[in-house]
């Protein structure tokens, strides 16, 4: 009886191994929804890049973007920049949500957002502004 249970226990452990390996594999990011979000964000980036460089727009600590200093934008363009920032944030939120969903774990959204928040800053060009952990704007 004892050895039988022990054997069963070992078998269960072995059966779980592939699942553990699967958990360590890549995240699914090749869905149509994620693809189209990437495309629109890529196109928008052409318009946003200059504002990152000027410091008008910065990367927030929660994985989004924000107008940091509107005075750096000519008055006539401010409305447009606000629109760009709002649209970008909408896409970013959707992106984090979609990645979590595509991997069958909607509850991962916040952790995915936190991961992105770090990586955006890591990959930002020098001179761009980002929020540190305490929410203070820092120039990279």
């Amino acid at each position: 009886m004892y050895s039988q249970i022990l054997r069963l226990w070992m078998a269960v452990l072995l059966l779980w191994m592939p699942l553990l390996a699967f958990a360590a594999a890549d995240l699914e990011i090749n869905t149509p929804a994620i693809g189209s979000l990437k495309t629109t964000m890529q196109q928008r980036h052409d318009q946003l890049a200059g504002h990152y460089a000027s410091g008008a727009v910065g990367l927030t600590r929660n994985g989004l973007v924000a107008v940091r200093d509107a005075t750096l934008v000519p008055l006539a363009q401010r409305q447009a920049v606000n629109g760009l920032v709002a649209a970008e944030n909408q896409d970013r939120q959707a992106l984090y949500r979609e990645i979590a969903r595509a991997n069958g774990h909607p509850e991962w959204e916040d952790e995915i957002r936190a991961t992105f928040a770090q990586r955006w800053v890591q990959k930002a060009a020098s001179g761009w502004w980002y929020q540190n952990q305490s929410g203070v704007w820092v120039r990279k």
């Binding site: 249970i5 022990l6 699942l19 890549d26 995240l27 990437k38 991961t115 955006w120 060009a125 001179g127």
Partner: protein, 61 residues
């Protein structure tokens, strides 16, 4: 001598639930990799191909 099999059964249940828990853990390394891939595309930091080109600042001036 009924307690031993009982204890084993409990241990078995605990092991299985631990495995399930592990599977639900957030895969931080995989997420980082996925984020890097998406950011590279959105910010066009790398032209197709996997040569790790130095991150070039996007056309500022």
């Amino acid at each position: 001598m009924r307690t031993l099999p009982m204890a084993m059964a409990v241990l078995l249940a605990a092991t299985v639930s631990a495995c399930v828990t592990i599977n639900i853990y957030f895969p931080a390394a995989a997420a980082e990799k996925a984020a890097d891939k998406i950011i590279d595309e959105v910010w066009q930091l790398k032209k197709s191909g996997d040569a790790p080109a130095p991150a070039k600042p996007d056309e500022q001036k």
